[in-house]
């Protein structure tokens, strides 16, 4: 079995150009990337280098100007907005730097959100929500609202929401960027556990070299290209 059989994410020849006024900003240029199934990949690079842009591309939130993104053998460029939304709900779990929980919903309702798009019954949804909150160690705070939780706890709810529908890939954009070292470490340990124990494929953007050590592999994005070495 060759290594490429195991490739889950394949980004090939991707350009992403933003237009700001008359100016073209070439954020990603002819970028290639492969992520194996079950891999924990860290993505680093200077601010503005296009890490979030690349993550959005993989997660089907944005479309490349040129090139293709293939996940599990399927090209997602060809999907309509509607199909892409359905595809995201099945395959992608997002974790955001600022947690992005809905402030008017309790922890368990936040976690339940992705399941509302599935045919699961209320009882089944409750079981999944409970399981996810248990995995992140928050089984005792299900009825709390986001503002009643610490940053670290909110991010745990964010992770529970990302994994509750059992997605193919977890995409984390600076998940510890807003947390102190201790809370950040706990979140990283949690991601690592999800990777090791449940075999989750994780792509994590981070500015923190300490965080990247938790990953199997680290890639650096600079001037629109990926390298395995930190430049400068």
């Amino acid at each position: 079995m060759s290594a490429s059989d195991n490739v889950l994410v394949r980004v090939s020849g991707v350009d992403r150009v933003f237009h700001r006024g008359s100016e073209d900003i070439h954020v990603l240029q002819n970028l290639d990337m492969e992520v194996r199934s079950g891999e924990f990949l860290a993505l680093m690079g200077p601010s503005g280098s296009g890490k979030s842009t690349l993550l959005n591309m993989i997660g089907g939130l944005d479309r490349p100007t040129k090139g293709t993104v293939t996940i599990g053998g399927d090209s997602i460029n060809a999907l309509s907005d509607r199909e892409l939304a359905a595809w995201r709900s099945r395959h992608i779990g997002f974790v955001f730097q600022l947690y992005n929980l809905l402030p008017t919903l309790t922890a368990e309702k936040n976690v339940e959100l992705p399941l509302l798009l599935t045919p699961l019954t209320k009882a089944e949804r409750n079981r999944h929500v409970e399981a996810a909150l248990t995995v992140v160690g928050l089984a005792h705070r299900t009825r709390h609202f986001p503002r009643q939780l610490s940053g670290g706890e909110q991010q745990r709810v964010g992770i529970a929401r990302a994994i509750v529908a059992d997605p193919t890939i977890l995409l984390c954009d600076e998940p510890t960027g807003d947390l102190d070292r201790k809370a950040g470490d706990e979140i990283l340990a949690l991601l690592q556990a999800l990777h090791r124990e449940q075999g989750k494929t994780i792509i994590m953007v981070t500015h923190d070299p300490h965080a990247s050590h938790r990953a199997d592999r680290t890639l650096y994005l600079n001037k629109g290209q990926l390298t395995t070495e930190m430049s400068e």
């Binding site: 979030s52 842009t53 959005n56 997660g59 939130l61 944005d62 907005d81 509607r82 939304a85 359905a86 595809w87 995201r88 709900s89 099945r90 992608i92 997002f94 955001f96 730097q97 600022l98 992005n100 809905l102 402030p103 959100l113 992705p114 798009l117 929401r161």
Partner: protein, 374 residues
């Protein structure tokens, strides 16, 4: 906190708008009530020159003889004052009980009361609304000061014994009237005996009422007192044309109110969407479709307007049921059910109209942009 305050203020604005809507509908109905209940099978016969000129009593048998006429009732405007106060106004009409009941079947009286009226010369019946307003009960003796019709010897105070209180067959039936007997009236009069104010003829076939009206006109043509006969409907409608302007004014007020409310609610929804760009972005990232997000915003908008609107309509209903703001001068005062139903349509329409632009904005929201930190 600011958001809650804004939502609350919007909620109250919508609520007030629908209370106002209820009142305006009730007032319009009060002015036009006669129009919808006006019988097509009744012909009003009055003096050709003017309503205040009287007609001879001997016209009655002549009208009765016309083919197609079932019954003829005479009426005379008494125009008295109760307790010497102009604000205590209610219509007093001199009638002949037997024929009057035949021509106006929508006034409901018990058999016992009917008999009492037929046998009591000084007997009067009064509509439920006026009875309630002044606390009149069967057995009461009510004095009324004449402003037109003096009694023999110059007396102005007429006394009547209330023998019955009538209800309306329909919601829109006028029950403010005070009706008493012509024989008692005519005998005691100082002047003007043998005359009545106008006649109302009931015809067998409403289809032919216009034809019959023409026959009545023709019958008294070239006599000293020529008449003008017309269906009650046409009669009431000519009056309604004048109050039609009131209806137009109300529609104008309501349009202005709803337009304002639409801006208020639309602004609230628009701000709610702008403030929740990230939340909506997250929903899309999770897999909610653009259409789904559109629906969420629309539903929220409709929920806001329904909660406030339905409460407003309910409040209007309750307040209007307490009586009209003039304390009883309006013949009928209620929230017509078709206007209430229309109110529910307006509630939903407001929700959709206020929410549609913000909802489209939410639908078009680009996820990556929404989630990008500034």
């Amino acid at each position: 906190m600011r958001k809650k305050l804004r939502a609350l203020l919007t909620f109250l604005s919508i609520l007030m708008a629908f209370v106002l809507y209820g009142y305006l509908c009730a007032i319009r109905e009060a002015f036009s009530a006669g129009v919808s209940v006006a019988g097509a099978d009744r012909i009003v016969v009055m003096h050709k020159m003017s309503l205040v000129m009287l007609l001879p009593v001997n016209y009655k048998p002549q009208i009765e003889r016309i083919e197609g006429v079932d019954a003829v009732a005479s009426s005379t405007w008494f125009g008295g004052m109760y307790q010497g106060e102009a604000k205590n106004f209610f219509p007093q009409i001199v009638v002949e009980p037997e024929t009057y009941m035949k021509v106006y079947p929508e006034y409901l009286l018990s058999e016992k009361e009917k008999q009492a009226w037929l046998t009591t010369r000084t007997g009067a019946i009064v509509g439920r609304k006026t009875a309630k307003r002044f606390g009149f009960k069967v057995g009461d003796r009510v004095p009324i000061q004449a402003t037109i019709w003096n009694k023999k010897g110059g007396g102005r105070t007429w006394e009547f014994d209330i023998v019955g209180i009538f209800d309306g067959k329909e919601k829109g039936t006028d029950t403010t009237g005070f009706l008493f007997r012509y024989d008692y009236f005519d005998e005691a009069l100082e002047f003007g005996q043998g005359q009545v104010g106008w006649y109302v003829a009931r015809v067998a076939d409403p289809e032919k009422s216009e034809q019959t009206a023409k026959k009545i006109d023709a019958l008294f043509a070239n006599s000293p007192a020529e008449v003008k006969a017309d269906t009650e409907k046409a009669f009431v409608q000519s009056w309604a044309k004048q109050i039609g302007d009131i209806g137009k004014i109300m529609v104008a007020i309501l349009s202005a109110v709803f337009f304002t409310i639409l801006l208020v609610a639309g602004n609230t929804m628009g701000q709610a969407v702008r403030e929740r760009r990230e939340e909506l972005g997250v929903l899309k990232a999770i897999g909610f479709t653009n259409g789904g997000v559109l629906a969420i915003v629309l539903i929220e908008s409709c929920l806001l307007s329904s909660l406030a609107g339905v409460l407003g309509l309910g409040l209007a209903w309750i307040l209007i049921a307490q009586g009209d703001p003039t304390g009883g001068a309006l013949a009928v005062f209620y929230f017509p059910s078709h206007d209430l139903a229309l109110g529910f349509v307006f509630v939903l329409a407001l929700g959709v109209a206020a929410g549609i632009l913000p909802a489209i904005q939410a639908m078009r929201l680009n996820v990556a942009d929404a989630l990008r930190r500034m």
